[in-house]
């Protein structure tokens, strides 16, 4: 039981993620989380404005159930399977973050400077959260997939499109981390 309560190493998590992908195909579906965002649009009535969203969202119901399960899994893990909220990141990362104004890095899963309710209720804090989400949603649908569909499935399947997309993910991620975050935090 102690093994479960400790943070899981990469060589435990990677194979389990791969097994999850395998199971979803074995069950006759696929592995891709960001398409749920389009399903939300369809359920919300976006098909009235844009034909792209005129789909029968019931066909994607299995994927909505999958993310509902992932919410439950997050709840179970954080409430029953975790003894500490600390994340053992590299000490250099902690220093780098202190330099750009993120204190207490690694003492919890998320920085308060971005995710606390107090920050969320400021104009700047709210804007950062919504812009971050917008970029993820717009970018993932433009590219046709996110980390699950492109990085894991697409690269496993040796697809050039996914290699290009993942290179894009890294260009964007590096620019944000090295150049933009120090300016806006």
């Amino acid at each position: 039981m102690d093994f479960i309560l400790q943070p899981w190493e990469w060589y435990v998590a990677g194979p389990i993620l791969s097994f999850i992908m395998f199971l979803l195909y074995y069950f006759g579906e696929r592995f891709g989380v960001s398409s749920n965002l389009e399903t939300f649009c369809s359920i919300g009535g976006a098909g009235k404005f844009v034909n792209y969203f005129k789909i029968d969202w019931r066909e994607n119901l299995w994927n909505l159930i999958f993310i509902a399960g992932s919410i439950a899994g997050g709840f179970i893990a954080s409430n029953y399977l975790t003894t500490t909220d600390a994340v053992a990141i590299n000490p250099q990362t902690i220093k780098d973050l202190a330099d750009i104004g993120i204190m207490n890095a690694g003492q919890s899963y998320l920085p308060d400077e971005i995710f606390s309710v107090d920050t969320m209720l400021t104009l700047k804090g709210f804007s950062i959260l919504i812009i971050a989400g917008f970029l993820v949603g717009f970018g993932a649908r433009w590219a046709g997939g996110c980390t699950s569909g492109h990085a894991i499935v697409g690269l496993s399947n040796l697809e050039l499109a996914s290699l290009i997309a993942v290179i894009g993910f890294f260009i964007g991620g590096l620019v944000m981390t090295w150049l933009i975050l120090p300016l806006i935090l």
Partner: protein, 137 residues
Amino acid sequence: MKFIKFFLVGILFGIVMSKAEIISWFRIYEMFKFQSFHMYGIIGSAILLGMISMFLFKKKMVKTFKGEEIYVTPKKEGLSRNLLGGILFGLGWALAGACPGPMFVLIGKGVVSILVVIFGATLGAFFYGLYKDKLPH
């Protein structure tokens, strides 16, 4: 009842994303700073083992539980779509410290502010649909 298996797989997904700290903003920052092997190990080993799954699907050695052949639909080709869409996604991934999967897992962790991120992501998907025909692909 046919949906319960997806709920159970989702629970496993949520647990592994939480327990391996993939939902931690700090782990994503650390990855983009090249200061840890953790995230590369996870994604890399998932891909390597995934190649075996893909091989078994292609050779029809594994079929669905109903006995149907498994066909993995290839992603759409196109430099603009994949590179530009990918770059925008990457900017958001590093800012939010979460890609779409972890966003939902974080709801289960009780992070209220992630709902704003998910709302933004849904808005982003909507605006993509709205302006899709004007974008290069």
